[in-house]
Symmetry: C2
Subunit: 332 residues, 2 copies
């Protein structure tokens, strides 16, 4: 009998936790697992190393700034020679949870993504060969690559794999919303909970769901009404599939840490969450949220800010006499 | 008698330590003292915050990168709209030990320096008023300034004082050379010691002395032979004093962490320490170091790399709806 009562108590205590996580369209962020720590330390250095760019000035962290929600907080990024990028830099935070990388999903995973900006003439403007030449000339890097990968020569696969391994650690668990999901029912205020209910009831969770609250499907921007923002030179998913039906389809962005990842949309045209919620309601759902409704949804969205990555700023190994010098002011 | 022997022993043990530090032209770097930690944490955020620039892209750390010896490792820096700076960015490491700031000493101290780049049209291209408007619009900054300074309004003096307080912590004690100075006599190898002896005997320590191995006087670049590098638009100390005799006089740069602070000289024209030592020998001292002599001096210089600043990358408070947005691509 005592055993039965105990089991029943456990059931009562256990249920809300299990229920909250499984019954909601959003699940808590899990801390990173199966991580190669040596590879992470190497990848962290590479992520912060502007010597992977032609100018010696632009690193991964320039546009996916880990002090600022893994973004650059400007509409479109600044590339080599101050070129204006074509699209808003998506956050690197929780990007391991994305179905694919880039707004159009043209990279299957983080490793495939990492090589892109290095060789993009509008971004870091380097080549993989030149980047490898720099790394091979720096004795401390040569030793660290050998320790991590056990090979005599550095190749671009090692570089992108190390960066991707570091990026896998950039998850943001422990948001107030996740604490609520995991059973701490007084964590959210009434307006935040009302905002979450409205977010679900309005259909936002049709696309913004899962642990990343997005990132797991492609959707048309402007489903009900056409999007009025910048469409110039942006094909969306069609650039990858070649299908006209995929034109202006984009990977649904994660809403994790969305308070930090402004401005919003592929063109960075929405400066505030209020504006973004209003536009999404109208063009995706055919709903005009009232000022109060909008404010409640925004209050909920701000509960999605999790623990930001916390690590010591890496110290980069110095170049050697043999290291090719960056050419920031050379003619393109 | 016992007391006397004890005293004599202490004298013997104590002497080499005291002697090493007082008798050499270079003294060990001391850890920072009398530091206001709350102000440091605020200043660290400001140091990493690109919202103090017009573009939202350039922070103090862009050109004085704490992953790279407190410099940008390019000959002259990249400013707003990729403008080419007129002079090499000096390291921020140990800059609290400088007699004054900038190559020409036009700022009396770190606080006076910190406001310069923010408002320089060729660097961060902002104004103090606009920068304060940004900070005042960010609730977490408003609270933090109030906690640290106890005032209701943020002003530029608080901003530059906080940045300066953070910069005071950026000293690099514990180099191998300092350990040797402090009595660990097997810390330096024979070639490094020979290099140090040559450095002293050749007269390098006439200018490169004190705890920072420089930074404490102004000297003419090209004392024996004229300097062949870039002199265009660079007046040196004369720009501050107005005296013709000060033309092409520069603050002697610190040699602390010099392995990390390449390229060298006010124009960043020397890519390697070998080249810098050769040029300095010829144009300042009238000496042509042999290849072996040069290598020994370089070996000594590499022992001056100290503990690099180690701190958690700061997370910046997000902008509010009221925060003026950066204008990276606006016409100048």
């Amino acid at each position: 009998m005592k055993v039965r009562i105990l089991a029943a108590s456990l059931l009562v205590v256990g249920l809300p936790l299990a229920w909250a996580a499984s019954d909601e369209p959003i699940q808590p962020i899990q801390p990173a697992k199966q991580i190669n720590l040596g590879m992470v330390e190497l990848g962290k250095k590479l992520y912060f190393d502007p010597r992977l760019s032609k100018s010696g000035f632009i690193s991964c962290n320039s546009c996916h700034n880990l002090s600022m929600g893994g973004t650059d907080n400007i509409p479109t990024s600044i590339g080599d020679h101050w070129q204006q990028g074509p699209i808003n830099a998506p956050t690197v935070l929780n990007s391991s949870l994305n179905v694919a990388q880039f707004w159009d999903g043209r990279a299957a995973d983080l490793k495939a993504q990492a090589g892109g900006p290095i060789a993009n003439p509008g971004e870091m403007a380097f080549t993989h060969t030149l980047a490898l030449g720099v790394l091979e000339s720096i004795p401390a890097y040569v030793r660290e690559f050998k320790t991590v990968f056990g090979k005599d020569k550095i190749d671009i696969d090692q570089v992108t794999q190390a960066i991707a391994e570091f990026e896998k650690t950039l998850v943001t668990p422990n948001s107030r919303f996740d604490q609520w999901l995991l059973g701490k029912k007084d964590e959210l205020h009434a307006d935040e909970l009302a905002g979450y209910k409205l977010f679900k009831d309005s259909g936002c969770t049709a696309c913004h769901n899962g642990p990343a609250v997005g990132g797991n499907s492609y959707q048309k921007m402007g489903l009900v009404e056409p999007y009025k923002g910048n469409t110039k030179g942006v094909e969306g998913r069609a650039a990858v599939t070649g299908k006209d039906a995929d034109r202006f389809n984009f990977k649904v962005p994660t809403l994790r840490n969305v308070e930090m990842t402004y401005p919003y949309f592929h063109d960075g045209a929405a400066n505030t969450l209020t504006e973004a919620v209003d536009t999404m309601g109208r063009i995706q759902l055919g709903k005009k949220f009232t000022k109060d409704e909008n404010a409640r949804i925004v209050a909920f969205l701000k509960t999605l800010t999790g623990d930001q990555p916390a690590f010591t700023l890496p110290v980069l190994p110095p170049s050697s006499d043999a290291t090719p010098r960056p050419t920031p002011f050379a003619k393109k």
